[in-house]
Symmetry: C2
Subunit: 450 residues, 2 copies
Amino acid sequence: MQFELTKEFLTNLRKQISSEDRTALSAQLDELHSADIAEIMDELNNKEIQFLFTLFDGETSGEIFVELEEETLEGFVKEIEPAELVSKFIKHIESDDAASIIGDLSEQKRKEVIANLDDVEQASDIVDLLHYADNTAGSLMAKEVVTANINWTVSRCVREMRRQAENIKNIYILYVIDDNDRLLGIMSLRVLVMTSPKAQISDLINRDVISIKTNSPLEDVQNSMEKYDLVALPVVDELGRLVGRITIDDVVDLIKEEAEKTFQIASGISENIESTDSIWVLTRARLPWLLIGLLGGIAGARIIGLFEDQIQIHPEMAFFIPLIAAMGGNVGVQSSAIIVQALANNSLGIMGVVPRLFKEFSLGIINGVICSILVFAYSYFTEELNLAITVSTALFCVVIFAAVIGTWIPLLLDKYKIDPALATGPFITTANDVLSIFLYFYIGKLMYFS
Amino acid sequence: MQFELTKEFLTNLRKQISSEDRTALSAQLDELHSADIAEIMDELNNKEIQFLFTLFDGETSGEIFVELEEETLEGFVKEIEPAELVSKFIKHIESDDAASIIGDLSEQKRKEVIANLDDVEQASDIVDLLHYADNTAGSLMAKEVVTANINWTVSRCVREMRRQAENIKNIYILYVIDDNDRLLGIMSLRVLVMTSPKAQISDLINRDVISIKTNSPLEDVQNSMEKYDLVALPVVDELGRLVGRITIDDVVDLIKEEAEKTFQIASGISENIESTDSIWVLTRARLPWLLIGLLGGIAGARIIGLFEDQIQIHPEMAFFIPLIAAMGGNVGVQSSAIIVQALANNSLGIMGVVPRLFKEFSLGIINGVICSILVFAYSYFTEELNLAITVSTALFCVVIFAAVIGTWIPLLLDKYKIDPALATGPFITTANDVLSIFLYFYIGKLMYFS
């Protein structure tokens, strides 16, 4: 059932494209889902993509077009004329996809594309959508909604649906509105199917409708749809008028993007990149974090430098530098990861900051005691008592310290509206490294020289 | 529109519960969505939860029940009798939720609950579902599907739907089957609404249906639903007979869980935990990784120990230990995060392993050259030439080495069906630490003593 793109398939297909073998190509591609054809096109160049599109009608082309990867899409759109872009693709896709593609165009090209939109309703929908700020419900919604007036009967509703629903693919629910377009409730298609044509919409409406404002942040959209298990969420303006709807597939993409972003930031990657991106893009996303790490390393070098005499007399102190630094980093990452995740899920619960830090402090004590005992035993038997006391005491402090800091920093960042995932990244590991090392050598100094 | 749970609300509610003030409680809770009531119950104890449930009818209780957090649910289910569990809750929920709850019970209690199921159809559905292996499509599906026979007319279909659909809430699509229950295609409710009652289902069916086998892994379920933007995915047995369906809300939960698991494993947390879990659970999930880190640290100590004389003569070499170790870790985490993510998304593309490693090697050279020049400059001006050469050469090698290893290890783990996120965790950082330090001191030895 599922299509699997192979190298052989692709090589063969490219041959057929270069020999313009339409019959063979159609035979292979007609059986595939538009998402699969898009996946194939993601591996082709613009010329090849353009040729493939000549095999499909407008509707299918539109379906494939919106499934292309962002990179492929951008590259392809750049090379085609505004008039062609509209007639072959934009005309056949929903307003949200159209607005998102047009929004990414250059100022000049955007104007030309909009001027080419001959369907007045579509043009106005798209222009409306382009006004909403990024990261708001308005920017994610589609204008295509099927509505029923509260004063209609079921039979009138079915008649009107025929008219309205022509260009709307996924209808799960009817939105019931009043004469001023205000959203009053919802009605499932199932109710419509199962009721007498003479019934009044006002008797069938379900008024428990969850909606969202156009200017609500995407985070709220995601939370609502997840929490209430919705497949579509109606969007209303300040006056409560229905202006669009957001569907679950867009939110699934959003959830994945969010999770990826968190994971990337926490791994020290600053842009949304993929393994297929160019070396230059990858370097740009990674180098800044490495430079932060480098600065941290230099700070560490300076701190150890303060204890140069101490190392000369007790070189064995140097042995445990990596252990102390790594443990600080590991504990810090663990603690902050838990908080970052809870913040992302809205699952922090109602515990305050102080009891939470206290909990992490207790946890630090347990982990700290266990790790310290082990390291004490090792260093006592391989080295001597003073060093064993130094290493185990320092480790104990570092574990507790890193646990508390790792919990506190993401909470603090979140309070000031900074992405808390930053805390899990090289930033916190580096800071913990530097502080751990200082603590270690300072304790060593007290042990050996006082 | 969205309910926000506050401390005040909860304190007030608990007072009303302890004084059994049903009127006040109903007034507050009746307006809320079942998911919100569940969120409140997640903060209450079993006695309080039990009292609140007396305020709602069976259907609402069922809706709230399935929205409870796993922990709350487990604790609550333990305390109620099998007969009550069935009559008050299980009877009112869908087969997939019921099976998942019953599947988590003890052997003894499970038997008692099943014996109490008086609805024969529900009992057989649940027992069927309990047979499917975890992590397969069968284990996630619900048995409630609305079907239409290919030989029916639209009016017959509507009649049958009334009968079938009584207990099924979310109907988006009708599944068209033949006399042997084999899935032939789908039909949207919209088509049903908009067509003449005399039309034949066989003329309205859409045969391009994407389905999945009961024994397919959940990964395939997720990929299919995402790729093809489905809100429901029909599940068929080996003979192609329709046996259930999976809805998008379950897959959204799955996607989130997967992302969380990846993030947690990569952060050195081995179980699926939440910040609200007990200290004991949190320790159990975190300590093993810290012990791995500790072992790595001890290995590092042993390696540095090999170069004790060298440190005594050149204590300045110790200054750069944290820098070298941290940079190896940072680069390794970046590289593996990109691969882990691409593996999770199926977006590796069709590039082979060797060109991929070569790409990462090139990237390592760019990052390595830049970082090495900076660190050379710093160490040359603060220390002296030999050290500057040692540190920058070691850093250059470490960056390249970590980039290649960070790419290769997750690919290798994936090949052997081990979760590649393991590679991004303390495991790879620790391994990189140890190797980096060895490299650093070895180069130092060559520089100073040869």
